[in-house]
Symmetry: C2
Subunit: 232 residues, 2 copies
Amino acid sequence: MSAFPDLPEATIARLPEYLRALHNLGEGGADTISSEGLAAAAGVNSAKLRKDLSHLGSYGTRGVGYDVTLLIEQIEYVLGLDQRRAVCLVGLGNLGHALAGYDGFASRGFKIVALFDADEAKVGEQIQGLVVRHIEELGRVAVEENIAIGVIATPARAAQAVADVLVDAGVTSILNFAPCVLSVPANVDVRKVDLAIELQILSFHEHRKASLTALPGGRSAAAAGNQEAVGS
Amino acid sequence: MSAFPDLPEATIARLPEYLRALHNLGEGGADTISSEGLAAAAGVNSAKLRKDLSHLGSYGTRGVGYDVTLLIEQIEYVLGLDQRRAVCLVGLGNLGHALAGYDGFASRGFKIVALFDADEAKVGEQIQGLVVRHIEELGRVAVEENIAIGVIATPARAAQAVADVLVDAGVTSILNFAPCVLSVPANVDVRKVDLAIELQILSFHEHRKASLTALPGGRSAAAAGNQEAVGS
DNA sequence: CGCGATTTGTGCACGCCTTCACAAGCGCCT
DNA sequence: AGGCGCTTGTGAAGGCGTGCACAAATCGCG
Ligand SMILES: NC(=O)c1ccc[n+]([C@@H]2O[C@H](COP(=O)([O-])OP(=O)(O)OC[C@H]3O[C@@H](n4cnc5c(N)ncnc54)[C@H](O)[C@@H]3O)[C@@H](O)[C@H]2O)c1
Ligand SMILES: NC(=O)c1ccc[n+]([C@@H]2O[C@H](COP(=O)([O-])OP(=O)(O)OC[C@H]3O[C@@H](n4cnc5c(N)ncnc54)[C@H](O)[C@@H]3O)[C@@H](O)[C@H]2O)c1
């Protein structure tokens, strides 16, 4: 096929943001969009956005902007969203149930095709039209359904074992919600989502703000307008 | 008070990881830990870890390592975890319920003190010993309970309005689960958690891997061992 | 008391990312 | 047809983060 563009990691992380902004703009009836406008909608600098888009060879039109529909197609192609990807979810506790019921997956080309848990009491349960299977079936089902992405929502102590099972089953991408470090082969990508870390980072900034302001007269509501989005 | 160290943002994001690793090691009975050992437990480079710790003036002992208990105290102080921070949660749908029942908050010095929703059907519901209140009460309760951190788990279309209410109530840190960009004053910190973005980044790497391997002979399980944690 | 083993703290170089600033290109209007 | 205004694409500079490699410091032991 065509040579695959190797984009900077930072750019890749922003493409989904651009994509969402573009979808919103498209629904709003916009036909074309300037880098300035799209950058504002995505909450980034316009120069950065132009450089990001230039990396994937996408052509806008000078004096006009980018064609919304075309740009959506380009980004979706690069992200591999043109093909529906099968996802499995392991651990149907508190968080797992919420994830299973989340419609934000399907709307972006992802489809949860299987649910797994180790608890016999959970196995057999129906959730969103899917039946919870025992983790031992994972190997077989992963191959049958051609699952590429696994989501781990088990307690931390079980996460490494689950990751091993996923890897053995041929899964090459893992999204991990358990607060722990996973050890996987080099060809497997792991991304972690950790609430506690996010809160602790916010706590640091609270601490910093509190130590800088010398008795600011208590809590005051400042005028809104600015945009501070702490980087991912 | 003491001059507040201004740490690199990248360092701050890693401190919670070190903290968790230290807690695990502490429970394991370790008294001191070398930078090498701690780095392995946290999944980072040992030089990076030493530089991070040196930033906060924390002193290890050459030839020995770091005192686990002391280091925990130091990091918790810098992150502001020595004081319990009040958190409120807005939007008790699918995800909100899971978050409300999550014990990972309390164990790290955070306490959910109030739940809010706009849906009259949800208001009054009891969750984990807390009663869901109407969003209109947020302003009053936030001041009473001295809430510094707000968590948004509403649909995206409501998120900006909720953020505005939080800001007006004096909340200066926001954790946003809704897939949208929030506009807030400069003194308010926002962090975003977006599942769809994480999955799309994984999808990109799947796409890349698929386009690079020329018919790899199907799904093969590689030997485990390596650790690839995609940066946050 | 001195020496070797061990581990921290950091100077330095390199690469990535961001941001500015501007030339080149495009469309529209006269 | 020509000029003008707008927008993209990018060269260059600066800042930040990473990781190597090593000097300095500490402990244990003979
Ligand atoms: N609940 C939240 O809001 C939340 C938020 C952030 C992170 N997390 C993390 O997500 C993970 C899950 O949280 P939770 O609240 O849903 O926990 P939970 O205890 O409610 O659910 C865990 C589920 O995993 C299953 N499980 C345990 N071992 C397993 C194994 N070896 N194989 C397959 N399944 C197994 C259990 O049977 C259970 O159903 C935890 O690591 C938690 O720290 C949770
Ligand atoms: N469910 C998941 O696993 C998941 C995962 C990632 C992100 N998200 C995001 O988190 C958000 C919530 O997801 P969900 O599945 O819980 O949705 P949901 O529809 O189940 O719950 C949304 C809740 O917000 C409340 N709400 C709506 N407008 C409000 C307002 N103005 N003020 C206060 N409360 C209001 C609703 O009454 C409802 O209870 C969404 O933005 C979603 O995209 C969800």
